[in-house]
Symmetry: C2
Subunit: 195 residues, 2 copies
DNA sequence: GTATTGTCAGTCAGTACTGACAGTCTATTT
DNA sequence: AAATAGACTGTCAGTACTGACTGACAATAC
């Protein structure tokens, strides 16, 4: 990343985001963050006042916050495979965009109450959308009419697991890259839900 | 938990395990741990020498280390639903037994290299077993003969996701309790893999 | 009597955070 | 072109506190 053209505030936020995601809030010093940003520690405090406020600012600045409801009511085409593909790709897009924030929210959960909830708000919306989607698809007779919420949950859990597994560069399970995994997950559910 | 009959060492290990899982290694002080164990800080150092060694001792003591290969070659009955049920239940059993250690390995990854790998060794074995199981099942003509490793991976990811979601008392997605989730996951794969 | 633990006082290093002062860069004014 | 002002940054010395860790001694328990 080339941060040379960013303002000092931005440089500090980015450095903080990366380091805290890696080592945890308590595992990183303000001096380290400032140095990584190519600035002096003093500048850090002049900008943010305290380490805690720096973290909060980083969160506010970098967590992805976009409405999805409309997006979906427009894009869904009521073809199971195509729509599942859209949902899972959107899911991974959101999660990857929030990658660092999610890492932080997992590590600093006790110190930063409410963080986890915020990083999971958008994925949660997707779960909701998918559940309603399954219900409607069942009404249309395009999938079996049982357990729509359970199936939506299972689908999301599968992708949540894959994302988590990949979080620190997929080295703990056999590394299967994302794209074929998504394709396969869609096929599994398409076969399972076919009436 | 009633720890009153445990030796001092055990009390300290348990207290350390719980507190570090909750607040992270750097988020907890030796005094806190000792107090939680009902002992003095001095006793902690007399037993373990340093904070770091305490953590390592806790890991060695409490991470689940059992061979599974034999277990499975004995228990598999080559009925898809029944065997998937066994695999997923075994998986969640292992993961829950290692719950705290897994939390720690996620939070302290940078500080404790190799931890994550160790906590994931046994689940990895399961993935291996499941892959081979699918291959054999395909040879027997009991499931479709495509992508056995991808399907095994997908199955494990689904349960990994569910476990992770549940790690801090399932409050970030709609809470669906474990047992029905397992049942449903098995049904999905049974339908998807049926020839 | 031996082993284990508590108390207490204290050391030492690290770390968040501050104040005073000086330097630099940019834009505006003259 | 030169001067000036204002915003931003670096340096450095220092404060205040925390937290890992120690040593000496006393108390308790088996």
């Amino acid at each position: 990343m080339d941060n040379s053209k960013l303002g000092s505030g931005e440089k500090l936020l980015l450095a903080a985001l990366n380091l805290i995601a890696e080592k945890g809030y308590n595992g990183v010093t303000t001096l380290e963050i400032a140095t990584a940003a190519g600035l002096s520690e003093k500048t850090l405090f002049r900008h943010f006042g305290s380490k805690q406020k720096l973290l909060e600012a980083a969160f506010d600045r970098y967590h992805y916050a976009e409405e999805m409801k409309k997006l979906f009511s427009e894009k869904l085409v009521w073809d199971l495979e195509e729509d599942l593909l859209l949902v899972s790709k959107t899911y991974h897009e959101i999660m990857n965009r929030n990658r660092k924030m999610i890492q932080i929210s997992f590590k600093e959960e006790s110190q930063l109450p409410g963080f986890r909830e915020r990083t999971h708000r958008h994925p949660l919306q997707l779960l909701d959308i998918l559940t309603n989607y399954f219900i409607t698809m069942a009404e249309k007779g395009k999938i079996i009419p049982v357990d729509p919420e359970a199936h939506a949950f299972a689908f999301m859990m599968m992708h949540f697991g894959a994302f988590m597994n990949d979080l620190d560069s997929h080295k703990y399970y056999a590394s299967i890259s994302l794209e074929p995994f998504i394709q396969n997950s869609v096929k599994i559910f398409a076969r399972a839900l076919k009436p």
